[in-house]
Symmetry: D2
Subunit: 329 residues, 4 copies
């Protein structure tokens, strides 16, 4: 028996976590990609709970950075970055429900070198930005292209990094806002958190009827914090299995793997993202696992884990997690 | 001669800062108020550069808090707070232009006590919030109603505060986003900065054709930081004089009075808002007043002023200003 | 009658705010200046409550920057910056008491140009620093010398700024620590807050027997935030009138002028400094002026003022203040 | 051959990483424990490079919390918390050298339950504190005692956590300051970082002649962030192997294990700690491993790891690390 059968998705989902059909969304099907998460466009596809959809995503630059000579400041038409597929209407989704998305696979596609990273002026975790505004001159713009296959990410002649793909940007529409796909928030979006990877199920609060799921911005891999702001960006086929949970409302993004549960916070300064994540994790332990609040606080102190997703986006994203083995009754 | 004639509005505006007409927008004219700043609704009125419009604004609670027994958590339908008039299309406004808005007047209206403040659970500068998430229990919810006239704000039997009205929320539509009217950003919005007051001209970058100006959330007065998150909220008639500037592009919000120029930054943590504001002020001094960067940096160090607008909204807003008397050639 | 007679210093001080004697501490008397606030050195002078002492302070560079050709990185022997006079033992001061220091005068001294500012690599509010660490290259180092007299600060040929002197660094020894004179904290230190000026009385918690007061780092003037990190640094004669308050214990630094009371917070990020300052102000209003906490919170929201002292030191310092006219019974 | 032989300690140490002797420091030998890191006390022992010393440390409460009825606010004499052994003078250490400390072992000692955690009013990562000052009431004080042996930490009847001991507070004296042992900084101190564990070598800049090493505050284990502020505090025998490195000066704390190198940053807000850590890691990769800066920045982006040590101390501590396998020539 797979752990999936014991997941929230299987226990509480309308489709009980079963796969009820397979769908595909090609680039041509998508047509126009989107640059905001919001409710002001028509769904590109309707999915029933239980359906699996494979989606042809673009990389964060929309494919415009083909060689190391293609500087983003020249070839990218800002703010049209981080193009998103969708929105996908989830049949029956109502405000207050929870959307479950199991990450089935992230497959690189497109011509090699498929992976792109870049140092972009006034963007990144170790440079002055429009927010952390300074008088220092920007560092030189630079592009790095990398071959990316299931066998690895060829960082350089001597360094091949493991292929550990995940989805950088995934979530649902806000209730009444339409927010840049560069921003992460309690509806998901550009969290750039490596745990949003094959093997994980991620949960979003449904904030608008039909949920209106968006997805894009796959990464071949990434270090903690996505330091320069640009991971191993790849075009990909992202395969997602959706289900709809009634009666398990959540306030922010949660995630589950075979071994752990995780709450995700997105905020600035970074400690606020950590506080959000840990407080939600404690509330989760109290609500679902029988801890009293002080005991959950103690256990997070002694055994909680923190993953820094990004320290570069409009809000920073962190995940706080607890091993399932410590949660058993 | 009024200082207005030497303002950017008069020197660079299409209407040269002249008043070319008077308009009025009543509550009935407005019909539905708005809760996001964005381009996805039709303009409620078109204004030519030079026109003056008086607008019947609602208070931040949409008038729902009529007595001190009306607790916001019970009478306000979140997230429908901070209702906005508009959007106003500005004739001829193109992306890259600058919108000038002279604050002519803010007149309280409606039955007394017209002013409302409140302690709202998990909101405010000195309490745990969903972002600065903590395990402490919320402090008690509480409403304070105050009579507000041009003669003063009756805070209590023994304290009457000066009536120093301003506009809490004013700005233009983002380019492709639609963002909550609770948030301030480089397009204006909920800056809650007391300098946005009669006597000032405020400048916004035009990010969408027609500019799409919104306005609401007038305050009878406010302390620095808007500490509990709710100023002296009043329904009002806000009178605005608009003009359109070609050839003076700006990256964020700027403001001008008879005596000073100010750049406004909105960000978290608060030092980033200060950095944004001061860097823009320095660039302004370099571009328009002949300073070299180091000299402008020195002058801001010795003579710059900082006003903390809010320390409670999704981003904190600060203004950094320089006296005009130090800028003369 | 001077307002001084109604001050905390006069009402609660051992000497009732009276001047009981005059003392002087010359450079020669001082001998070795100090670079930490701490209890591990002998007092240079003992003062009785009520005594007034005039102190020959050095500028923050110890006088090493004599011309604009004297770059701090070459002529200053780091970390020997911000030299302090003292410590002054205050007769009878016990842990838990409060030290009152009335700023009587700050007189510039030394050869002209007496004022020094500088852009120092990796230091300042608008550049990358060792803490806000970035990969951007530092901006050029630069020194600015200015004539400073009681008539003004000659910033440039065309700009003369008002002489508004204050004390950048003033405070008492921590209980068991010895902390760099560059740092502000709840014992005072390098707050760089322009309100610490002639006309004000500042209060410090006594953390070590004898209080052990230090003083230095006078400024001819400064803008809010001390943006580049170096104000108009001057050697000066600082004249201080001390008194000792029993039975009015405080947790951090407070200040009083004829018109207002102020609490000062020093922390990072900046919002924490603002929270500290405002919370202490509210507690003060509750303890001494009969407000209940909610009412004080409301009044700070509507009428509180925030002064940004520095946004450059190891902790940022802000003052939150309330007009005395709103505090009267 | 052990990896130790290829470590910086072995390659650059005066003793070449060899063990040249064994020493012991009992509680009685220590006599008075210390509460500040500084140069104002006599060394308790002199160690030659190469010597191994086993030290009887107290827990962070000095052993005062013996049962769950012993509330810290009642039994601990603040600020006398986090008692430290030392200082140890390292023979031949000069300012500019680097001290290597290999963590050989951390052995719990004392009566069971040896482990203590606690919820202390106004202290911790998810509550209002004197810095993140709020009006919310504190949560209830509470003590949790746990049996701690090499077999595990008995968190509750149903949860036993792995024994993964480390040293919470370890470092050297600042140059001229004496700073609370509760604070982490570039000299080490209260970093509360679980990587400071048996199997690791940690490096400190020598800031004062003789280095003056302090150690204390051992933990039976800890989650990321030390959320409530109190880990599994234990009295222990900490066994440390010291060596002295000439010609490898460092600016902050570094660490090495068999598999990775790590730079540690301590600052607020948390993103500044991350920036410090990552920038130092990049500089290390450039100086010692032949990367150019951009390439190191890219590699950290794709393969860097971040460990959140504490989010509760006066500064937050984070480690940024890179696998040694990616650094090989």
């Amino acid at each position: 028996m797979s752990w999936i059968e014991t997941s929230y998705m299987a226990r509480k989902g309308v489709a009980r976590g079963a796969e009820t059909g397979r769908r595909h969304l090609s680039e041509a099907d998508q047509g126009d990609y989107h640059y905001v998460y919001g409710p002001f466009v028509e769904p590109v596809m309707r999915l029933a709970p239980g359906e699996v959809v494979s989606v042809e995503t673009l990389d964060a630059f929309g494919g415009a950075v083909k060689t190391e000579a293609d500087l983003p400041s020249q070839v990218v038409n800002f703010p049209f970055v981080n193009p998103q597929n969708g929105p996908f209407a989830i049949e029956g989704a109502k405000v207050g429900d929870t959307l479950a998305v199991r990450i089935v696979d992230v497959e690189p596609r497109g011509p090699q070198p498929a992976g792109t990273s870049a140092l972009i002026p006034e963007f990144g975790g170790l440079v002055a930005t429009p927010q952390t505004a300074m008088l220092n001159k920007p560092i030189p713009e630079k592009v790095k292209k990398m071959e990316v296959t299931r066998d690895g990410v060829k960082f350089s002649d001597r360094i091949t990094l493991p292929f550990e793909p995940f989805i950088g940007t995934l979530g649902v529409s806000p209730f009444m806002e339409a927010v840049s796909s560069l921003q992460p928030d309690y509806w998901g979006g550009n969290m750039d958190l490596p745990d949003v990877a094959p093997g994980a199920i991620i949960y979003f609060p449904v904030l608008h009827d039909d949920a209106l799921m968006y997805v894009g911005d796959c990464h071949g891999r990434q270090g903690d914090g996505e330091l320069c702001g640009v991971a191993v960006e790849i075009p990909a086929v992202a395969t997602l299995h959706v289900d709809l949970l009634k009666g398990w409302p959540i306030q922010g993004v949660r995630l589950e793997t075979e071994d752990m549960i995780m709450s995700i916070g997105s905020a600035r300064p970074m400690e606020d993202a950590a506080r959000m994540a840990y407080r939600d994790l404690i509330r989760w332990m109290v609500d679902d696992y029988g801890f009293d609040e002080a005991e959950a606080y103690f256990l997070c102190t002694q055994a909680g884990k923190v993953r820094v997703g990004n320290m570069v986006d409009p809000k920073y994203s962190l995940g706080a997690s607890m091993k399932k083995s410590y949660l058993k009754g």
